[in-house]
């Protein structure tokens, strides 16, 4: 795959096939951790970090462990274990060597194990038969799409905090409707064909 087609793939993963607004991968943190732009950006950065690393690691586990042993059907079990271990390892590594980054991302890291965006990026990589470089780029691009979505949405929600909706819509329903309006805006990208 040439450089140009990798760029196209990344562009498509960020906007057209956005993980939140087109595919619904990672909606729990998207709806849960988006009250303030700062925390949303922190979560987005932590996800980006983990997804880029896990893109490469799960690719290697699949190609060098599962395929030679003919255990491809165990990929879900293997990937979730690799991701859980990786998150734990990244947490320890950051605490030991890059404390400033750990302070910024630390509280979000444990939440990422059960973020379905990370697992689905790993499974999609296998499904689409990406190479190592493509796997890393795909993880990075999908995570950037997630970060873009959650940060923009946090901006919308921080404005919405002062609104006075009907009693029944207070809280979660209003959040969902705002997300729906944002999804409508993102759906205009789906007209772009490559």
């Amino acid at each position: 795959m040439s450089f140009g087609s990798i760029l196209l793939m990344m562009f498509s993963a960020i906007l057209v096939e956005n993980f939140i607004f087109a595919k619904f991968y990672g909606c729990c943190p998207f709806l849960g951790v988006s009250e303030h732009p700062d925390t949303a950006l922190g979560m987005g950065m932590a996800v980006t970090f983990v997804m880029t690393v896990s893109g490469g690691v799960t690719w290697a586990v699949y190609e060098f462990l599962l395929v030679p042993a003919k255990l491809e059907y165990l990929k879900t079990v293997a990937f979730i274990l690799v991701i859980a271990a990786l998150v734990q390892f990244i947490e320890m590594f950051l605490r030991r060597f890059i404390p400033t980054l750990y302070q910024a991302l630390g509280i979000y890291l444990p939440l990422i194990t059960t973020n379905c965006a990370v697992l689905s990026a790993a499974l999609l990589t296998v499904q689409n038969g990406y190479s190592f470089i493509e796997a890393i780029c795909f993880g990075l691009a999908s995570a950037l799409g997630f970060t873009l979505a959650i940060t923009v949405f946090a901006g919308v929600r921080s404005r919405m905090a002062h609104a006075n909706p009907p009693e029944a819509f207070k809280g979660f329903p209003l959040t969902l409707i705002a997300a729906g309006l944002l999804a409508m805006a993102f759906s205009c990208f789906s007209g772009i064909q490559f």
Binding site: F21, T76, V77, L81, A84, C116, L181
Partner: protein
Amino acid sequence: MKGFLKQLKEGILDNNPVLVQLLGMCPTLATTTLVENAFGMGLAATAVLICSNLFISLLRKFIPSQVRIAAYIVIISGFVTAVELLMRAYFYSLYQALGLFIPLIVVNCIILARAEAYASKNKPLPSVIDGVAMGLGFTFALVLIASVREILGSGTWLGFQVLPDAYPKMTFFVLPAGAFITLGFIIAAVQKIRNGAAERARLRELASLRAEFLAQKNEKAEEKEEMTV
């Protein structure tokens, strides 16, 4: 038997995992374009939930608490793989329609939440019943949302024509944006009903307090009368 019914009602209505506890949003939003997919997703998750609840409950005394989440995830992902392979063998079209959301049952928060909050503290039989109740609650919520989206978006329900052909199909409800907005309105309706119920309960409590207060007042007045007499 009575306890079973109570648990069932708790899971489907009072404490519905999607509509009240607001868990498991990814499959709820993604697989509700058609009622058929919603049924399939709900029943697949129910099967995993029953098995994982049973095994976690049986192993609850052997799993060290420090590594319990990792142990739960391994148990759950084992059952998810089994369900995935079974669906690929017997329900291939459904397997293709649900796509990645079958393996993603592993990270469905409902299953992990029930493991942590219920199965790890209770005996096997109640845990299985809890799995049935919560799974049916999840299926019920998915089918409810999918009914709205399929009828308005495609004019059909479970594949049967419901709305006349002349009625315009609102494709919006099939798109991702429609998923968010439909779910928003349904949860608003649930909140409205719950607010109403809470308000009625509060009024009942106030009325009973008032009755008690009046009764006490009457008693005191009678006592006073007796004293003066």
